[in-house]
């Protein structure tokens, strides 16, 4: 009887973990979702990167990830930000031209975190892109850079 009970329990435990695992969003799925959102009005995918950061230890600044993108003059680009639903953190992206903040999906005045933002670039060069998660929470996000148009 005891063995029958275990026999019944093992598949339940296994299936519970298996279902949870298969429902977790992978970085790959996020890239595909994010690209669909980014390019639905004809924008063209250029590159992506995935950021996974742990929660900030108490009293410390939120950890952040740094990347660099080359943007060209007279070009409109789109930064699409997709945060994984498996984590609490929502990604905040900041684009710097040298040491000067150029753009972000977080608008301080309204407190709103946008899912994407466009940059109408007028200066060819390398731009630094910093990513952190709101309130230093743990998070996983994909950032897709796409080309909107030449103007």
């Amino acid at each position: 009887m005891r063995n029958l009970y275990i026999l019944f329990l093992i598949p339940i435990i296994f299936l519970t973990f298996h279902i949870k695992e298969s429902q977790a969003q992978t970085g790959e799925e996020l890239v595909n979702i994010c690209n669909r959102i980014a390019t639905k009005d004809g924008a063209k995918y250029l590159k992506d990167f995935t950021v996974k950061l742990n929660a900030a230890p108490a009293g410390e600044d939120a950890p952040r990830d740094k990347n660099s993108f080359m943007l060209r003059k007279n070009t409109q680009y789109r930064f699409s930000v997709c945060s994984s639903k498996d984590y609490d953190g929502r990604a905040i992206v900041k684009v710097y031209d040298s040491s000067k903040l150029l753009a972000s999906n977080y608008v301080v005045a309204t407190g709103k975190i946008h899912r994407s933002f466009d940059i109408k670039c007028q200066k060819t060069g390398a731009y630094h892109v910093f990513v952190e998660f709101e309130d230093g929470k743990e998070g996983l996000a994909v950032i897709v850079l796409s080309f909107v148009e030449k103007f």
């Binding site: 063995n3 029958l4 275990i6 026999l7 093992i10 598949p11 296994f14 299936l15 298996h18 790959e28 890239v31 690209n35 390019t39 004809g42 063209k44 995918y45 250029l46 590159k47 992506d48 990347n67 660099s68 993108f69 080359m70 060209r72 003059k73 007279n74 070009t75 409109q76 031209d97 150029l102 753009a103 999906n105 608008v107 946008h114 994407s116 933002f117 466009d118 940059i119 109408k120 670039c121 007028q122 200066k123 060819t124 060069g125 390398a126 080309f147 148009e149 030449k150």
Partner: protein, 302 residues
């Protein structure tokens, strides 16, 4: 006893398949990397920096988009011939030409020339297989998309992403030398096409697009010089150095301005008001176009 057996069997059926590790990279783990292509020795630039620069330099989409925006019709004469694909016997040549074909594929895709793109995809498959990175190209999907003109955006997404994944894999496997060569190929082909289009349709935007390559080539030279001890690289560096010297005559100045934030149809748009201004003389421009043509033609000759 019977229950124990059933218990064991249930466990085996449910748990053992879960032990199989998923590998999205196809047969990457079984790949044999020839010694000749493995990057050896201390590098001046970190592999992460190489990957960043690599992906930043290599964007054939934007060059093609500019040409298309100027209403310049597609020209088959501008792209490389794939006839020689079987004669590229060294990893060095295969990697450079793979980059050149990648840039041409971007040009074809932007113009929706999907039947010609199929020919390029076949050649790209051959070269990437020779370089043992073919597993990153989803050729079946790409060919299916190329056969259907309505899916050009997906074709661009998958092909561009496959190239990016390849660059990442090469870095992670200590083969950044191959990705650097690919980028050198993408870059020279982009410059060549822009130069040829400029000669046929002189235009201020194309002129500026050529001049601003000064920024890209300075990064590219850092990448190439990393491998200058290799004889093939040394020859390539010599040619690119000549182009780089010409670009030193190009002046880029900046006009400062504050960014503006606007909302259009609910979309957040940031308009940059700092501008870069490119100054390039006719003489330098002509020399750059000539030298890039010579270098590119030399690279695609077998």
């Amino acid at each position: 006893m019977k229950h124990k057996f059933i218990l064991f069997l249930t466990f085996a059926i449910l748990v053992l398949p879960a032990c199989k590790k998923t590998n999205n990279s196809g047969n990457a783990d079984n790949m044999e990397v020839p010694d000749s292509v493995v990057n050896k020795g201390a590098l001046e630039v970190s592999d992460q920096a190489i990957e960043n620069m690599t992906q930043n330099i290599s964007s054939p989409i934007e060059t093609a988009a500019l040409i298309k925006k100027l209403d310049v019709p597609f020209s088959h004469d501008l792209i490389a011939s794939t006839e020689n694909v079987d004669y590229y016997n060294t990893n060095f040549k295969q990697a450079v030409v793979l980059g050149i074909y990648g840039a041409d594929l971007g040009y074809l895709n932007m113009y929706g020339k999907t039947s010609a793109a199929i020919d390029f995809l076949t050649s790209i498959k051959k070269l990437s297989n020779k370089l043992k990175i073919g597993q990153f190209f989803d050729f079946r999907t790409l060919k299916r998309l190329a056969s259907n003109n309505e899916n050009v955006d997906s074709l661009i997404y998958i092909s561009q992403r496959n190239f990016n994944q390849m660059y990442r894999y090469l870095r992670e496997n200590n083969r950044s030398n191959i990705s650097v060569l690919m980028v050198a190929g993408v870059w020279i082909e982009g410059l060549y096409i822009t130069g040829q289009v400029y000669e046929m349709n002189p235009n201020e935007e194309l002129r500026e697009a050529i001049g601003e390559q000064k920024i890209m080539i300075s990064d590219l030279m850092i990448l190439l010089r990393n491998y200058e001890k290799n004889a093939d690289f040394a020859k390539l560096i010599e040619d690119y150095e000549e182009i780089y010297d010409l670009f030193k005559e190009v002046k880029i100045t900046y006009e400062q301005g504050e960014p503006e934030r606007i909302e259009e149809d609910g979309r957040l748009i940031i308009k940059q008001n700092t501008k870069s201004i490119v100054n390039i003389s006719d003489e330098v421009l002509e020399k750059i176009i000539k030298k890039s043509r010579e270098t590119r033609n030399k690279l695609i000759s077998d």
